[in-house]
Symmetry: C2
Subunit: 251 residues, 2 copies
């Protein structure tokens, strides 16, 4: 999964578990597909399969929202789409700004999945004056100087950061100062934000590293390559978890 989060750990919003919230968009996507094919109802089993989870989990998840199904029948597709959309807050319009219009920022600006879910790209912002004017995804790129004005004029509360790592914290602070309270961070840095501001992090290289970990396991335990980095100083014993770390790197 994409990863990281920074959350007030108390006040778990109105009793819906975080893990459930994270799956609602998945259900919503599956339901939307069914809706487009004019399927009137689904069972938890079918919907779970489409969303890639098991049916007990799905039923438990829905039970936090209310009793929206019909025993012996299943769930009404249109009705559930509406309920989940409302729960997620997608029945309203969310203006977002994207800061940092490099390759990734441009990809985000062009990404159709935003508009289709109540998210509206209110502005594209970049620090490079040379980009100003050049349209990306049919919108003009505006200069960072305008950031505060754009945020307040448009009532933006969600910001996307796709700048280089070095610029991210500073951009974050300006966004927050201007009134943004939710941030989606693509820059490979830990952002620090005041309480009350949510940060979600998407980190491409972290995802690959997690895959590499599992991939390595599949390949079987090969001998580790020689250990180039000695420890602080001579030590007596290093206990590896269960017997790797041959005899190479410590002592």
């Amino acid at each position: 999964m994409a990863t990281g989060r920074t959350h007030r750990p108390a006040t778990r919003s109105r009793g819906i578990p975080e893990a459930t919230v994270a799956r609602l968009p998945l259900y919503l996507r599956a339901l939307t597909a069914l809706s487009e094919r004019s399927v009137p109802t689904v069972s938890s089993e079918e919907l779970a399969a489409a969303a890639g989870v098991n049916s007990a989990k799905l039923r438990k998840d829905f039970s936090y929202l209310g009793s929206y199904g019909t025993r012996g029948v299943g769930y009404d597709v249109e009705y559930l789409v509406y309920q989940i959309s409302r729960e997620l807050g997608l029945t309203q319009d969310w203006p977002v700004v994207i800061v940092g219009i490099g390759n990734l920022g441009a990809a985000l600006a062009n990404y159709g999945g935003f508009a289709s879910r109540g998210f509206r790209v209110a502005a594209l912002i970049d620090a490079d004056p040379a980009m100003a004017g050049t349209p990306v995804a049919g919108m003009p790129v505006q200069h960072t100087d305008e950031l505060e004005k754009i945020i307040s004029d448009n009532g933006v509360s969600i910001g996307v950061i796709s700048t280089p790592a070095g610029a991210a914290q500073q951009v974050c602070e300006r966004l927050v100062a201007a009134g943004v309270t939710s941030i989606l961070n693509f820059a490979p840095t830990v952002l620090s934000v005041p309480d009350g501001v949510d940060v979600r992090k998407v980190d491409l290289s972290i995802e690959l590293q997690i895959l590499a970990f599992h991939e390595q396991r599949k390949a079987g335990e090969d001998a580790a390559p020689e250990g180039p980095v000695p420890p602080v100083s001579a030590k007596q014993q290093r206990k590896g978890p269960d017997g790797d770390v041959p005899a190479v790197m410590p002592a």
Copy 2:
């Protein structure tokens, strides 16, 4: 957090909890930064702050890898960098292919964070013959026809899918058939794969939807807009979780 995962739930790789694995790249990044500033040792407290977690969690995480710290002192930065890299399998070279060179694929191809961690982009693949030859990030884009040959010639075991949703499952199947066993999926679809293949999913719009959920809470419970979608038929009672769902949408 980026999201989704598809894992053999048994065989939790050699006893390192999945949640810990997901944080190792974070620690590694923080350690690398310290290493570049030639800091010789860190305490769990300092490192935890840099990685954005609490120190108890960090110490527990490291305890799964082995006893790599020194009581009263902290952790040797270089040594830990090596241990975590090795644990994650980053001491070896991982050739990856990126399939689907649209905006996002191009962004990924240009992303520096891959190369710096043992990941090498072995090929860029796209279905559009018009793209063949046009270099992206200094590499030629190759046609999908070559996919199988590229995978086996380069011994690729990790594939990145950044195609449109409609093409993703088919691409996935070809990758798997050709020998790929780990997939990072950016397409907004649930991929189905045989056992033994890992899929991680990064979904931009899901992350925004999760933010919107929390954002909505902060704004306070406003009246929900009128409910445009009636349920299956007239019903007696709908119990919302604790008293929303005014009187509008059911019955």
